[in-house]
């Protein structure tokens, strides 16, 4: 039996999405820029996809741009905005717990002469609003703060952030990396005051290599690649029609049964946290002091630290029972250094290397969580016998 609890790394593509994509690749394969019927047909898919996203985000279809994924959306938003606004200032604000797609883009901009401030987070992984307010100024041109943290599932108070920006830096653009949040929360950029927002397709049961960048009205970005002028010249290159249509269908399906799914995910999260704490010497990350109060965190991510057990060993042990999870963030395990997010929330040193992320989807069941807890209960004592001396 396979229990896939690594949905924050990537998700299984909905069969309907795969079918639609196959049809487009094999039958409706035209280039949306072509003048003939084949092109018009392909363009229709792109337009429909924009409308689907516009419907979900409650914005206009012209605010939707298609990219190759969350990383490109982040890069285009951050570099594009910084280049566009650099004559007004060089001051950028982000947080210490962003995904590498944002953090390393910021590093790049630092090399280009921009000044980047990294806001701290508390133990629950929520940013310090006072610190943010202090750092915001007339000089600030861009603020980039994620919606849901990919490693611990903490959710940032974006509405409050937006109010602070309006108050202290009315000219600054506000970018949100919503790669983990989209599909798990109703994020309405226009209403919230978000100017730029990144979405990834493969985290929402769509194909890999696809993403969306929401670009608000009156936001001018400098493109980061050049070509045939597609998508208003902001994101050049022939549109990935099957990817776009597939991603849009996945998004549509995800929001069809949204409320029930989210409720179910929170129940599963509660079940997993409760069961894990009963195992002893297990700690939950990314939640406040009161573990029952999980409503303000992401419904699908549970970060657990297992005292005295190396994350990688536990990961492979669970794998032997068909349970797939991540150590920290899947994207950071290629580097032996401990995760920036776990350090930022002040996790005890001895737990840094003992932390696993369980991330669920609406396909996860109560029985799956029962089984995970059962396997943990069986294997933890065995693994704790072998520690480095």
């Amino acid at each position: 039996m396979e229990i896939y609890l690594d949905n924050s790394a990537t998700t299984r593509v909905y069969p309907e999405v795969a079918q639609l994509m196959t049809k487009i690749m094999c039958e409706d394969y035209g280039n949306p820029s072509s003048m003939h019927h084949k092109g018009v047909e392909a363009e229709k898919y792109v337009r429909q996809a924009k409308e689907i996203f516009a419907g979900i985000l409650k914005c206009d279809a012209k605010n939707i741009y298609f990219t190759s994924g969350g990383t490109e959306s982040d890069n285009l938003a951050i570099i594009g905005a910084a280049q566009s606004l650099k004559r007004r200032g060089t001051h950028i604000i982000t947080t210490k717990i962003e995904h590498p797609a944002v953090l390393n883009t910021m590093k790049y901009l630092e090399g280009q002469g921009f000044m980047v401030i990294y806001i701290s987070v508390d133990k629950a992984g929520v940013i310090d609003l006072e610190e943010l307010e202090k750092e915001l100024s007339e000089e600030t041109i861009l603020v980039s703060i994620m919606h849901t943290n990919n490693e611990i599932g903490s959710v940032q108070p974006l509405t409050k952030v937006s109010e602070l920006i309006k108050k202290k830096s009315p000219n600054a653009l506000f970018h949100v990396d919503a790669v983990q949040g989209f599909g798990k929360a109703r994020i309405l950029p226009k209403k919230t005051g978000i100017d730029l927002m990144s979405i990834s397709s493969h985290k929402i049961h769509g194909p890999k290599g696809m993403g969306v960048l929401y670009v608000g009205d009156n936001v001018r970005l400098i493109p980061i690649s050049y070509g045939g002028g597609q998508q208003g010249g902001l994101r050049n290159g022939t549109e990935n029609v099957p990817g776009i249509a597939g991603m849009a269908l996945a998004a549509k399906m995800l929001y069809e049964n949204f409320d029930a799914d989210i409720e179910k995910l929170y129940a599963l999260k509660k079940q997993l946290i409760k069961g894990a704490l009963e195992l002893g010497d297990v700690y939950v990350n990314g939640v406040s002091e009161n573990p029952d109060d999980i409503g303000s965190t992401a419904p699908h991510i549970v970060s657990l630290s297992f005292q005295g057990i190396r994350a990688e060993v536990l990961l492979h042990t669970l794998e032997e029972s068909g349970i797939y999870v991540s150590a920290g963030s899947a994207c950071s395990t290629h580097k032996p250094e401990p995760s920036a997010t776990l350090k930022a929330i002040g996790l005890d040193k001895s737990l840094l290397d003992c932390t696993l992320r369980f991330s669920m989807s609406n396909m996860t069941t109560k029985e799956d969580i029962d089984r995970v807890l059962e396997v943990l209960n069986k294997t933890l004592p065995m693994l704790r016998r072998y520690v480095r001396k």
Binding site: H316, E320, H334, Y386, R388
Partner: protein, 452 residues
């Protein structure tokens, strides 16, 4: 290669081999093995090739369009080859036509790169005449050729070939088959003269030449002037068979490469310890085996699940002796696998004193559990030397990937560096009640990955 050469003109390669030339009556075995290895190496190269031997020489002939660089690269992975010479093959004809072909070869090969401030023979004589040279005078009565010019060179700096500017060359001619009118000496002289006349930028220097142009008269005439170095060593398959203890580190792939270079066919064993080591650690070892297999030929890689043995040692033996005892069991398993496939030795990447388990005292302890010789080609290498070889053979980048193949849980913070055999043996007895079963179980997990 020292100079930019024109790769278009070659269809044939002469393969130079050194040590295998001296193996007496067994020589054919080595030559045939080398030919087999060359054929194998060329299988992946685009184009079709003929590989054949004549007395004392092995040739590779392209029988279709082929990629010069790819071919040379493949040959540079064949142990036993000392040099790869791109050759031009000529039908035997008159000496004059040979001279013409030689000059054409030089022109095609080096083009304009051989020009300099020197003068052709005719130009030199003209200048000499302008300066009062008179062939009718007895003291000037020298031949208006190379020798005459040489005499005048000492007198007339203006026509002297500028030593700093000219490329020093020599002809190395050999007449192996006697049905050609010029003997080796005459060939040297005539070929040298022809080249000198055609290329003002060259000068003869038989002692410290920068370029040697080889002219070999056999059933055909062969011209070549570039020797691309091969890896040396002995053809794989002529030196028996050994079992390599392979890990994902830097050392053991290099050890495998080096033993293989002496003609030894290798198989390998990797000790896998899930869940303490990951699938990627295994994949990394497979990748390393794949890289060295370009030199060593196919490798059968045994993967043994070592987890239970490791856990038993952890539970029952002193922590600071974990590594030594673990290695003793690895050696025992490797020896058994070696016996099963007819391997005559074990190969490890150990180097004296590199880590605690590689001190002489530790090596004694790990060595004594097996009776097959344990070959340790890196035994006296510094780490930096090993790194250099690994970079050269292309394993370094893979070796330093982060996936560990021994969980730090099983590495003591302060392991013994001077283990005593008696003590280790006594502690090993703690395993007596379980180890036989565990070993049997471990052998049952043996999975062979064929690395091609």
């Amino acid at each position: 290669m020292s100079r930019n050469i024109n790769k278009e003109i070659f269809n044939d390669f002469l393969i130079k081999y050194a040590e295998i030339g001296i193996k007496g009556k067994n020589r054919y075995i080595f030559e045939d093995a080398l030919i087999a290895r060359i054929k194998h190496a060329l299988e992946g190269v685009e184009g079709s090739f003929k590989v054949y031997k004549t007395p004392g020489r092995i040739f590779v002939s392209a029988e279709s369009d082929f990629d010069f660089d790819e071919t040379v690269d493949a040959l540079q992975h064949v142990f036993g080859i000392v040099g790869i010479c791109p050759i031009v093959k000529l039908e035997k004809d008159t000496p004059e036509s040979l001279m013409k072909s030689l000059v054409t070869y030089m022109k095609d090969m080096y083009g304009d790169t051989l020009t300099g401030k020197g003068k052709t023979g005719e130009q030199a004589v003209a200048i000499m005449k302008e300066n009062g040279f008179d062939a009718s005078k007895p003291e000037d009565a020298v031949r208006e050729d190379v020798l005459g010019k040489l005499k005048w060179q000492s007198l007339l700096p203006s026509i002297k070939r500028d030593a700093a500017d000219c490329i020093r060359f020599k002809i190395f001619a050999r007449r192996e088959s006697k049905n050609f009118p010029l003997d080796s000496m005459e060939l040297n002289l005539d070929c040298g003269e022809a080249v000198l006349d055609a290329f003002p930028g060259l000068k003869v220097d038989v002692h410290t030449p920068e370029m040697i142009v080889y002219v070999e008269i056999r059933d055909y005439i062969y011209l070549y002037s570039e020797i691309i170095p091969g890896p040396g060593g002995m053809p794989v398959g002529t030196g028996g068979h050994a079992m390599l203890l392979l890990s994902g580190g830097i050392d053991s792939p290099v050890a495998g490469y080096m033993i293989s270079k002496r003609g030894v066919t290798i198989d390998a064993v990797y000790f896998h310890a899930p869940p303490y080591t990951s699938e990627r650690a295994l994949q990394k070892v497979v990748d390393l085996a794949k890289i060295i297999s370009r030199y060593t030929g196919p490798i059968n890689m045994h993967v043994i699940n070592f987890t239970d043995i490791q856990l038993a040692i952890y539970e029952k033996c002193p922590h600071d002796e974990l590594t030594i005892i673990m290695r003793r069991y690895m050696m025992r398993i490797a020896e058994k696998l070696a016996g099963d496939c007819g391997a005559l030795a074990l190969v490890t990447g150990e180097s004296v004193g590199q880590v605690a388990s590689q001190t002489l005292a530790s090596l004694v302890c790990t060595n004594e559990v097996c009776s097959l010789p344990v070959l340790r080609p890196l035994i006296a290498f510094d780490k930096q030397d090993i790194v250099e070889v690994s970079e050269k053979i292309g394993t370094y980048e893979t070796s330093i990937l982060p996936y560990e193949d021994c969980c730090t849980i099983f590495v003591a913070k302060h392991p013994v560096t001077k283990p005593s055999r008696a003590v280790i043996e006594r502690h090993e007895h703690n395993l007596d009640d379980v180890i036989e079963d565990l070993m049997e179980e471990a052998f049952k997990t043996d999975r062979i990955i064929e690395i091609r």
